[in-house]
């Protein structure tokens, strides 16, 4: 058995190490099923300069699995939420750690964590695409989900003027027949007259024998 810790111990370790840099520490438990076994989560807010140190500290505890980096438009700030898990593999021992990093919209930059967790590049590229957060030092800065002809400076997850403008939204139910082309000459169908069955003609067709 490897050494694990409780969510509170994990939170305390970060508070001890980073002091006042760590804020809004929450330990959350969510229980499901009849036995109500807890799913444990530690939420922490840290400054953007500290993200790599915080992840390095987590790696010194146990190499984490990076679920995803989520992002949310919070008015003046953009919240980046690094969802990580440690202590998986045992039975019900896993602890999820969420680092919230706030970056101002006036300077939406954060440094990459791909030096520590190479798999993070995928999620970081998505944040550049969708939220317009510049990830400094990202090894691959190309677009990932948005097409190449997608306009610059439009970020689908933003709630401000950089979000998707109404002009880009197609309301399918509003779309009617195009007006810039002639109406197709569709004639009214003529009623098809049923042909009277021909009287039996032994010379016409029949089974090929």
């Amino acid at each position: 058995m490897r050494a694990t810790m409780t969510p509170q111990e994990l939170a305390d370790r970060f508070v001890q190490k980073f002091g006042s840099l760590v804020s809004d520490v929450r330990v959350q438990e969510r229980c499901e099923g009849v036995k109500k076994l807890p799913q444990k989560t530690v939420w922490m807010t840290i400054p953007r300069e500290t993200i790599n140190e915080a992840i390095a500290e987590l790696i010194s505890i146990d190499y984490p699995h990076l679920g995803v980096i989520a992002a949310s438009d919070n008015g003046d700030m953009i919240d980046l939420l690094y969802h990580l898990q440690v202590f998986f593999g045992g039975k019900h021992e896993e602890i999820s750690v969420v680092f919230t990093v706030q970056v101002p919209k006036s300077d939406p930059r954060v440094s990459t964590i791909s030096g520590l967790i190479p798999g993070a590049v995928y999620s970081e590229r998505e944040k550049q695409d969708m939220m317009g957060v510049t990830v400094d030092g990202i090894p691959d800065a190309r677009r990932i989900f948005l097409p190449d002809d997608f306009p610059e400076n439009v970020y689908p997850w933003r709630k401000d003027e950089k979000g998707i403008p109404q002009s880009m939204v197609k309301e399918l139910w509003k779309i009617d027949r195009p007006t810039d082309r002639p109406v197709p000459p569709v004639k009214e169908l003529e009623p098809v007259l049923k042909k009277e069955p021909e009287p039996d003609d032994p010379s016409a067709g029949g089974a090929a024998e």
Binding site: E32, H65, G89
Partner: protein, 409 residues
């Protein structure tokens, strides 16, 4: 740009009908050997998150059903869990069991679908037909429970929309026995077959270390020996009440290599595990209702007032699915909704596992992480003069079949 000398550039894709991430591959080839891999997903990004942020949670739930055609219940389940956490909905215990049973039948059908596709990619079409034929039974049971073969529409915030009553158990048991009876045969066909072993052993290797660093999930990481399964690690629904272990390749092979073969082992044995889980659920299922709030208007009113942020995770057939949700209590639609599907995490592994392999191995290696298939539908080879030669999927498939034949000689 590809020059006259090696390495040549070989683009593959982007045709990928069923997932959010259809993929365009670019391979740098040196003869038959892949030197470098690059891929670009997003070819049919539907903006589901954007749509979700303009809808109420019950509408999103049904949108979730349509994120993936195969894991139809996983996304709806994980979204329901996230909403329930924020709004503090008390889900009846019986609903956890109904959710678990459907999720496990979904795993059976997804793994069998994958097994069939894998067999097809190797040129073993009789096995492909067999796998898809027996998959029908699980799809039939899902239809029997939910009314639909795909897009089940059974999840609801606060429980499920339909119950699984004891009089339905015989039909479920019949399906489980059907699969139990076939299990030995499947193991024999997939794992003791000379052709499959030749093509899959030591092909597309992902080491445990890299599986961890690249943040892979599900059967892909487990096949590399990385013990990780949300059902066991952070139990949700009824999984905490059940006796389950993480399936690693050790269950069958003596050593874990992390190759395509190990991925088959993990998936085949997870089918057996699912049978066991469903049995346990049917035995332990508590009595009671399956839905916390039956009046949707009342439910929506409560959800509108809910505020907070959370995330939820489930183990979908392909690995961890995760939704992050933030609601502000002012509007019906969530303030932020982020969906992370399992292939999202597994795609980075492609770059690793395709390197150094051959063109003919591309189909099976790409398939081995179980993305939604048909990545390799069309391959365009463009030479320097700009002439485009199209390699069809049939051609690629034939290459793969020919490789199998060569190895058998």
């Amino acid at each position: 740009m590809s020059g006259k000398n090696a390495p040549y550039e070989l683009p593959i894709g982007p045709i990928h009908p069923s997932l959010k991430e259809p993929v365009n591959f670019t391979f740098k080839m040196n003869g038959e050997v892949i030197e470098k891999v690059d891929f670009s997903p997003g070819r049919s990004h539907r903006g589901i998150e954007w749509m979700g942020m303009r809808r109420n949670p019950v509408q999103i739930l049904h949108l979730c059903d349509r994120i993936c055609g195969i894991c139809g219940v996983a996304h709806a389940l994980v979204f329901a869990q996230a909403v329930e956490t924020i709004a503090d909905v008390n889900v009846p215990d019986r609903a956890y069991y109904v959710r678990t049973i459907i999720a496990e039948f979904e795993r059976i059908q997804s793994h069998l679908l994958w097994a069939g596709v894998a067999a097809h990619e190797l040129g073993f079409d009789t096995l492909f037909y067999l796998a898809w034929q027996i998959r029908e039974e699980s799809v039939d049971v899902i239809e029997y429970i939910t009314g639909n073969r795909v897009n089940y529409g059974i999840m609801m915030v606060g429980g499920t929309r339909r119950d699984i009553t004891p009089d339905m158990f015989p039909r479920l048991e019949q399906a489980l026995q059907y699969y139990e009876g076939l299990f030995e045969k499947m193991v024999n066909l997939f794992l003791n077959d000379k052709t499959i072993a030749m093509r899959c052993k030591n092909t597309g290797i992902l080491t445990k270390r890299r599986a961890l660093e690249l943040a892979t999930v599900g059967p892909t990481s487990r096949a590399s020996g990385l013990a990780m399964d949300v059902r066991v690690d952070s139990p949700y629904a009824a999984y905490g009440d059940l006796d389950i272990d993480i399936i690693l390749p050790e269950v069958y092979s003596s050593e874990t290599i992390g190759d395509v073969y190990d991925r088959i082992v993990v998936r085949i044995f997870e089918v057996k595990q699912s049978i066991d889980i469903i049995r346990q659920c049917m035995k332990q299922m508590p009595e009671g209702p399956v839905l916390a709030e039956e009046k949707y208007a009342k439910l929506l009113l409560n959800l509108k007032k809910a505020s907070g942020e959370t995330f939820a995770r489930v183990e979908a057939p392909r690995g961890e699915d995760m939704h992050y949700l933030r609601m502000n209590g002012k509007q019906e639609a969530p303030e932020m909704w982020k969906v992370k599907a399992s292939t999202y995490s597994n795609q980075m592994a492609w770059v690793e596992i395709l390197q150094g392999e051959q063109i003919a191995d591309i189909p099976i290696i790409v398939a081995s992480i179980d993305p939604c298939m048909s990545c390799t539908d069309r391959v365009a080879v463009v030479n320097q003069e700009g002439d485009a030669g199209i390699l069809t999927k049939e051609y690629l498939h034939r290459l793969s079949v020919e490789k199998t034949r060569r190895m058998e000689l």
